[in-house]
């Protein structure tokens, strides 16, 4: 089948990576497009601005991340301690700085900065954007999404009002 029109340009708003899947959120002219990528397959869904019911801006710690990094740091800390005891403090310090320090830094950074989460709920689905470091960008996007949804819904409301049939003129009821 021949293609009728080129799809509109998409702008990447944010990505979200988990253990087995990745998610990308794009802005399209009439809403947000969420791509779930599992192995090598992309599944798309859309949140349309004229169907948005709620937009939230939430800042939370993310306990799974904290627990995982703390457990990893503890485990590798013991390993580094063992290496240090067996091979000298230089080897132990190297193992510590390679394996434990990044996890500790991530743990402290997450505790200090927390994770900013924007969630857009629509009638049928939802989109979520997470920001660890770019707080200003998160705030700007939250405001932009709210503004676009508001504008779109106001436009739709005025279109529907314009389409409405004219009201019946007030007059005497027909006589039987």
């Amino acid at each position: 089948m021949a293609r009728t029109a080129k799809p509109a340009r998409r702008v990447l708003l944010g990505t979200q990576n988990a253990f087995a899947r990745r998610q990308r959120v794009y802005r399209i002219p009439d809403g947000l497009e969420v791509e779930d990528i599992v192995s090598f397959t992309i599944t798309c869904r859309r949140v349309f601005f004229d169907e948005v019911l709620l937009v939230t801006y939430h800042r939370h710690v993310g306990w799974p991340f904290l627990l995982t990094s703390a457990a990893g740091a503890t485990w590798f800390g013991f390993v580094a301690l063992g290496i240090g005891a067996a091979g000298g403090w230089v080897a132990g310090l190297t193992a510590f700085s390679v394996a434990v320090l990044p996890l500790l830094v991530a743990f402290v950074l997450r505790l200090a900065l927390r994770l900013d989460v924007i969630t857009v709920y629509s009638k049928r689905t939802r989109a979520q954007l997470q920001f660890w470091f770019r707080k200003r960008r998160a705030r700007e996007l939250f405001q932009l999404i709210c503004q676009l949804a508001r504008e779109r819904q106001e436009r739709l409301a005025s279109e529907l009002a314009a389409e409405a049939p004219p009201a019946m003129p007030a007059g005497e009821p027909p006589s039987s």
Partner: protein, 171 residues
């Protein structure tokens, strides 16, 4: 829920909420054949009482406004629309795609340790890279060029390296 600051019941932290009340679309008005008088309207192939408003662009049957499905700037009856959507023949209803960019990059990276398979893996990476470039253009993406070019360049290098390796092996 109202707009403004709220208390999250899960984490007991504050969060900001903006509530929207999207306008409700009015229910569809369907014209009946009887309203048009004798010989005035053709009836829908599925709903005999409803007046037809269009023809299906695929099978040609008369369809009423209840049955009319618009997709890819064409009008379909529900049966044709479902069939085309199942076959992934309509651009607007496609929701699953192959991630050619990641696939190309995976083949390209795999070709580094398995350099002796460079011709095959490099060709696969090159092919996936080209497909990814086309997909990026079709979908109108503004990012993702680095992965695509990496797959194409690495693929080409692996093809050349693999070919040199094979030639040197058999000489």
């Amino acid at each position: 829920m109202t707009s403004g600051r709220q208390l999250c019941p899960r984490c007991n932290a504050d969060f900001e909420a903006v509530v929207f009340r999207p306008p409700q679309r009015r229910s569809l008005r369907v014209a009946e054949v009887g309203a048009a008088g004798p010989g005035g309207d053709t009836s829908c192939a599925v709903h005999k009482r409803n007046a037809a408003v269009a023809n299906c662009s695929r099978c040609g049957i008369f369809i009423c406004s209840l049955c009319k499905v618009e997709a890819d700037r064409r009008v379909f009856c529900p049966a044709c629309f479902e069939r085309l959507a199942d076959e992934d023949a309509l651009d607007t209803t496609r929701t699953k795609y192959r991630d050619w960019s990641t696939l190309g990059l995976a083949f390209a990276l795999l070709g580094i340790p398995f350099f002796f398979l460079g011709v095959g893996l490099g060709a696969a990476a090159f092919y996936c890279g080209i497909k990814a470039a086309r997909q990026r253009e079709e979908r109108g993406d503004s990012v993702g060029l680095v992965a695509i070019y990496s797959a194409i360049v690495l693929g080409a290098l692996e093809i050349a390296g693999g070919a040199i390796f094979l030639v040197s092996l058999f000489r």
